[in-house]
């Protein structure tokens, strides 16, 4: 890896990380707010940090992906970098941020759970949470969670890639994204190791974006 490549990855990751910190802080505030409300209305905590973060984070990563095309590619070329460096930087940063968010989410869950245990407020967990033991995720759950949000990031990136070329292609990539989301979240597949499906589609998107950005025209 050249020094410019690693500098580009660091720069890109910093950018995504700053967006992620904003997102996580807002999510944390909303999480606390909602639980305060449910405590006063229902007298219990009905929602764990990790449960809620899954759907919120997929939307966040979809948007990060959507914002990763035109402006960034143009900026990379403007600063004397190549499409290859752009592609690798966005991909690696996407992966790094995914891992970062998952670890951060787990740590925050642990912290929140710890605070609740220490204060005795864990008594407030709803029955559903206690029955499912969903206060903290298992390793498999964390891995599949990571794979899913990475997939959403790639779906977002592919959609903006499609629109960058032509609006028809953009629309097609939206349709493809919706179809893949339905497949990977369908209960039929969820029971039979969904992580393989997710990994397969991740590979598919990486291949597609790699091929697609290799010789892409950039409006100067």
């Amino acid at each position: 890896m050249t020094s410019k490549q690693s500098l580009a990855i660091r720069t890109q990751t910093k950018e995504y990380a700053s967006w992620s910190l904003w997102y996580l802080s807002i999510y944390l505030l909303i999480y606390i707010g909602i639980n305060v409300v449910t405590y006063f209305t229902q007298g219990e905590i009905t929602w764990t940090f990790i449960e809620g973060s899954f759907s919120a984070t997929t939307v966040f990563m979809l948007i990060v992906g959507l914002l990763s095309m035109g402006g960034f590619l143009n900026h990379y070329l403007s600063t004397g970098l190549t499409r290859r460096i752009y592609f690798r930087s966005v991909l690696f940063s996407g992966i790094l941020v995914t891992i970062g968010i998952v670890i951060f989410t787990i740590l925050l869950s642990l912290l929140i759970h710890g605070v609740l245990l220490a204060t005795g407020w864990d008594q407030l967990y709803s029955e559903r949470i206690i029955d499912n033991q969903s206060m903290l995720p298992s390793i498999v759950e964390a891995l599949s969670y990571a794979a899913s949000i990475l997939l959403f990031f790639l779906i977002g990136w592919s959609i903006s890639f499609g629109f960058y070329k032509h609006w028809v292609q953009g629309a097609l990539y939206i349709a493809l994204g919706v179809a893949i989301t339905m497949i990977t979240s369908h209960p039929l597949f969820e029971s039979i190791l969904p992580i393989y499906f997710t990994l397969f589609f991740i590979g598919f998107y990486v291949f597609l974006l790699h091929r697609g950005t290799r010789t892409l025209d950039v409006r100067p």
Partner: protein, 292 residues
Amino acid sequence: MNINFDHVSFTRKQKTILHDISFQLEGPKIVGLLGRNGAGKTTLLSILTAFQKASSGTVTLNNENTFENEHAVEQMIFVRDQNFEYETEKVSDYLETYAKFRPNFDHDYAKRLLKQFRVSNDLEVAKLSKGMASAMQVVIGLASRAPVTIFDEAYLGMDAPARDLFYKEVLNDFMEHPRLIILSTHLISEMETLFEEVLIIKNGRLFTHEDKEVFQQRGYRITGEEQSVNEFSKDKTIVATQQLGPTKSVMIYGSFTDDDQRCLTDLNLERSFVSLQDLFIHLTEEENEDDE
């Protein structure tokens, strides 16, 4: 620095924008890339800087293909009109995003230039006026000190004093840090003294590439009595004609030989020099009339 375009064509959506262009630029030098609006100047530059890929032909920088070549593209900076509508960063931070990837970036020089252009470091890029945004880009272009520095109509929106400062700084910095500078423009009269060479693009084709003075001296004006002027110019390429009563004046494009000089004296005609701007305007007009 050596840039080589070898039979380069560029076609998109069944439309050929550049036709079979070949030329070589050898730096350090300041080159004027001239052409009317839509002639293909920006396309040519975007192929050079690998924003777009030539449909055929090869483009090299120091004998290396430029497209997707990390080593080649890092030596070039392409300053052009950009949309900053969504750029919420401050000017100083925006400069930093460029400086990071430009090993020769001179921060002190950038600061000094920004001050001279009266662009405040703390302003949001999106809130800059057109002239200020152009000035900021000129600063990035100069301070990056890329071996190949390209300004494509970089003066848009700048007022006269700012443009004057831009021209002055291009020359100053070129002397201190000699490199290949390409200035693309259709405002020739203001900039013609900056060029050592001109590269003229007309309707997607290379019209000429030569030393500016040599090119300029190919054009001259002959003035005198109508019949004498007609006699003198009968085998020559006339690009413009003016008449006032019995006096006729023609602009001729072509060489001027010793025979021509004798003929001129015999016919009692006057020969005068034409500006690059005049020559350019008439040469590009002529072609348009032929097309119609």
